[in-house]
Amino acid sequence: MKTKPPDSILIWFGELTTRRHLLKRGMLLLMPGMLWLMLFLVLPGLVLVLVSVITRGAYGQLEWVLTLENYRRLAGFSLFGWTADYLMILWRSAVVAFVTTLVSVLLSYPLCFFIAGRPQRTRYLWLTLVIIPFWTNMVIRTYAWFLILSPQMPIARLAAYLGIIAQGAPLYPNAFAVYLGMVSIFLPFVTLPLYASVERLDWSLVEAAKDLYASPVSVFTQAILPQTMPGLSVGIILTFVPAMGVFVVPDLLGGAKYMLVGNLIQQQFGPSRDWPFGAAISMGLMVLTLLGIMVYRRRGKDLETV
């Protein structure tokens, strides 16, 4: 159908029509969705970029004076010299998102093999056990950890007994609690797409690799990993992206000392009322997230061609 003059007559799946006529009808169907996405997705994106280079007034209002001050601040420059505070927060968020994704992948593989190995009759029940936490609200799941890690619970008592924390203290806020919460929240985001690939795994390839005396590691990298790559990729994107911007988990379990970029952004839009700086941080987060995806895609391509 390509490169035909715009008003040529054509038979489009059984319909005798012209290209212009067809596109007119297509446009009509396209309009509501496109208008909506332009107005509330593309336009806000552009507004965010714009606001990130203007000035905050004394009372938090926007002043339309162009400046790069917000990005300078994000990079750590201020009246008092240079600090790495904001860059540290960005870096920490990337590390937390990466580790969360990695641990989720490491735990998801055994879980997927386990579910795929259940008898046909009960398999979907086991799968449902992963789907339920997937759909359970994130706030509730975070606060559930809040409860489990509180001082009166056995885990905190054990930690106090071992001398890791003070007697009667909770196991939050700290990095450990954040990771615990993050992994438990994002694990199903890897498991579910990965399972879709594991279920279709061609086990004869795995058998063949074993017959040829492949080590367990090369059985995994040569026979299993390439076959499960599609599901794994979805899982990694679905985990890494929201994990980068997560806000509830560090807010409830991390405290001020373990701040992530999500909290920093929320602060600018909430208490600090510094929209331009918040917009600049959002841009930083976006760049970092897209960078992460790009790095992964490059590495992933290498893996797929193995």
């Binding site: 489009w12 396209l30 509501p32 509330f40 994130m138 579910l192 997230t289």
Partner: protein, 296 residues
Amino acid sequence: MRRQHPLTIVVSYLTLLFLYLPLFGVAVFSVNDARRGLVWKGFTLKWYVKLFQNEWILEAAVNTLVLALVSTLIATVIGTLLAIAMDRFPWRPEASSVLDLILHIPVVIPDIILAAALVVTFGLLRMISTIFEPGLLNMIISHITFQIAFVTLVVRSRLVAIGRDVEEAARDLFASNWYLFRRIMLPLLMPGIVAGAMLAFTLSLDDFVISFFTAGPQSQTLPLYIFAAVRRGVTPQIHALSTLVMLATVGLVIMMERMTRRQEKKEEPDVPSAQIDTHGISGQPWPMTPNPCKEL
């Protein structure tokens, strides 16, 4: 059946325990007869009774449902039209790849960025009209925005899966546009539309960040209420509320499960392309194939 390594089994049980232990903790303490602290004082249901006398919570529950229902309804209609428009017309390749890119934005950027962008935009729109004050309307608009993307992706994969043979046959038999849409496309598309709508509905119920940024004082939702309450200090009422929300989630998952399985059974005999399953594999409520993140 393949023999499984004992380590696989042990790790899997531990992982599931890790997922469920905190949730069970909440459920157990929701029936504990102690006002404060986490010491077991006996069974009670009074926190559940108190829940239904709490006006704030009832209002938040209503808001949550109104928000999810209204946004899902609008997003499903718009998303379905968009999917048909994108898949069934001879667009130039550049035009459709731009559309595709826009559609994938909500998938590849953290939701907090969309939330920030919408807050700023609503803030500027307030100069034009007061209807953009923080509140339920803003929340509905925001939810629709990310829902459209997901509905469109699901419906479009269904469109690809059903192919165009039936449509072409109908055209050959002189079906009008309206007849084709109403009698041929819509029935064939229905499983995809329902799957997309259910995905949109659950995404709306699950959302916290976007609601948190766009909500006003009069438009609390249950997740927002729980979050605020936890920061003030947990109470048994919040345990009870969370347990009810979890039970509702379980109910919703089972319902989705039932629907997708029934659909699969219905389609297996006469649709040979049933393996290009569009509404999730073995009952998964996620648009797994064709993979929405593959063409990132």
